[in-house]
């Protein structure tokens, strides 16, 4: 059995990575997960300069999921390159750097800075619902999404994954737009915008009022969107959204994702990624799949 997958020319040892923002740069999970067992580690989003993020409370639990409005707090690209890349390079796993920004120039500055760094892929976050400027502004308009993709592609030396927002009318249209802009792959879905109110205090639970909903609650929506995008574009898809176990991951692959990201459930069980790798392997054995690619999009 061959668990390797090829995403835009980069070979991962298996199709499992982590969703940006749920795993830091891996250091906090090092004690719980053998990082060598992951196909790739996708880092927390990094910008050209350090970002403070939003006020607290930044997180809340919802039924079968959570909401967050962390607001892309990050240490900035300089410290990231000095500290986080060498840390991850100790491990035999691919490094996907998630890039955030407030403007086209911000994104391009980070991508250019990463061009000569030892990282394998870039994931461009144009879909964060929790920051006022940038982010989602590029992710909800196909013209802007195509434009930002073209812009970062001019500076990128690594394959570019565009991370799509589910907070749109037609996600297939967004996927076609970034593909037209030159995206090497797409990842979806980012969080769905939600709101939670404390009825006893009669105020919003999150300081930001709204936050991104993630976790098993959104999984069926993610599967549907992966399926739609798989039928709209040729570039590979990294599927994510509420994957809690191997069953959920396999569902994503069958819907058309070439690889999967595990997010919120890392907070429930920090070792879940390794269990998912094992579970996919057991499934392949059970049903006689020789290669992961034999499973992709067959439903």
């Amino acid at each position: 059995m061959d668990m390797r997958v090829n995403i835009a020319g980069v070979e991962w040892k298996n199709p499992v990575t982590v969703a940006s923002g749920t795993f830091g740069s891996g250091a906090e999970f090092e004690a719980f997960v053998d990082l060598n067992r992951l196909g790739a580690v996708t880092t927390k989003g990094v910008a050209n300069i350090p970002w403070e993020g939003n006020p607290t409370p930044r997180v809340a639990e919802v039924a079968s999921g959570m909401m967050n409005a962390v607001g892309l707090q990050n240490p900035g690209i300089d410290l990231f390159c000095k500290r986080d890349i060498p840390f991850l390079r100790k491990y035999d796993t691919k490094i996907i750097v998630n890039v955030c920004g407030r403007s086209e120039e911000d994104y391009c500055e980070v991508v250019e800075r990463l061009a000569d760094e030892d990282v394998d892929m870039l994931e461009i976050n144009i879909s964060c619902p929790n920051v006022k400027e940038g982010g989602i502004a590029f992710g909800q308009n196909p013209v802007a999404a195509e434009q930002i993709t073209k812009a970062v592609k001019r500076y990128a030396k690594q394959p570019v994954i565009m991370k799509l927002s589910p907070n749109v009318t037609d996600i297939a249209e967004m996927a076609r737009a970034v593909e037209a802009g030159g995206a090497d792959a797409v990842s979806l879905i980012n969080t769905l915008t939600g709101m939670k109110i404390d009825i006893h205090r009669r105020q919003f639970v999150l300081a930001n009022r709204t936050g991104g909903v993630s976790g098993p609650a959104i999984h069926p929506i993610a599967v549907r969107m992966v399926y739609q995008v798989a039928h709209a574009v040729k570039v590979p898809i990294i599927g994510m959204g509420g994957i809690a176990n191997a069953t959920d991951a396999i569902e994503m692959l069958l819907a058309g994702a070439s690889a999967v990201s595990v997010g919120t459930v890392n907070f429930h069980n920090p070792a879940v990624t390794m269990e998912i790798v094992d579970g996919i392997q057991a499934y392949m054995k059970r049903y006689g799949f020789e290669h992961i690619s034999d499973m992709v999009g067959i439903v």
Binding site: V59, P75, H268
Partner: protein
């Protein structure tokens, strides 16, 4: 590598101490390396509740790998309510110990205030048991006459109590108790609600007293990855590169002068 894990703890006993306040002893490997002021992540067995509940450690029995947690039920259908219904023999997933506890070495030769308020009272008990210092003044604040853990505190130092309704000790909060009893100290450890911690931080600065406070915030991961539970710091934090520290990983105990609350 991968030397830590979410483990299955076994409930040894459970009792209700006061209105909405429960005490549970659990069998867990986490006890072996636990220190006063640290916490554990407790998970419910309800799969619709994904996130761990960060619960402070009230007592540690390292020899027998047992921890005591004293916690408040936060409402109907909450995770803590589910914990409160657990019986001896039931199991629950836990991760711990987590975070940095109170620095015990700071107590050597000092006259110390150990201050707890509300559901910030429990972690002060293990601190009171383990701390070696010149004078141990335990100042604990409650809402009313439900002064849970009082007997245990009395075995470990001189105890001063405040209650909001005045039914026991000084009427008011822990600061009122200090003033009424005319107490003084050259080191403070404190855990409690934010207004209490603000008052203590202000008092410590005014009197130039070394002061450690244990902070609380809504958490998701509990291990420093998600950046949900940050607090503002005076100086730029080494990890975040901005003026935010992670309460779960860099705290929950901070030197009061280093955080903006």
């Amino acid at each position: 590598m991968a030397e830590r894990k979410r483990e299955t703890a076994v409930v040894l006993s459970q009792e209700q101490l006061a209105e909405g306040i429960f005490s549970m002893w659990i069998q867990t490997e986490a006890a072996k390396s636990a220190a006063p002021g640290q916490f554990i992540s407790m998970y419910t067995n309800d799969s619709s509740k994904l996130l761990p509940r960060p619960i402070s450690i009230c007592e540690i029995d390292r020899k027998n790998s047992r921890l005591r947690v004293v916690y408040r039920v936060t409402g109907e259908n909450t995770g803590t309510e589910q914990f409160s219904r657990m019986k001896a023999g039931d199991t629950l997933p836990v991760i711990g110990p987590l975070g940095n506890g109170f620095p015990l070495e700071a107590g050597k030769g000092k006259r110390v205030f150990l201050m707890g308020g509300g559901i910030g009272v429990p972690p002060i008990l293990e601190l009171a048991k383990e701390l070696e210092c010149e004078e141990k003044q335990i100042v604990v604040g409650y809402r009313d006459a439900d002064t849970f853990l009082r007997e245990e505190f009395e075995q470990n130092g001189k105890v001063y109590i405040s209650t909001e309704d005045g039914s026991v000790g000084t009427q008011g909060n822990v600061m009122d108790a200090i003033r009424e009893e005319q107490l003084s100290a050259d080191l403070i450890y404190a855990c409690g609600p934010m207004p209490m911690l603000r008052a203590i931080k202000y008092y410590a600065e005014e009197h130039e007293i070394e002061c450690y406070i244990s902070l609380e915030e809504r958490m998701a991961c509990g291990i420093g990855a998600c950046l949900g539970c940050v607090c503002k710091t005076k100086e730029k934090d080494h990890h975040s590169n901005v003026n935010n520290a992670r309460i779960c990983k860099d705290g929950p105990v901070f030197l009061a002068s280093e955080v903006e609350i």
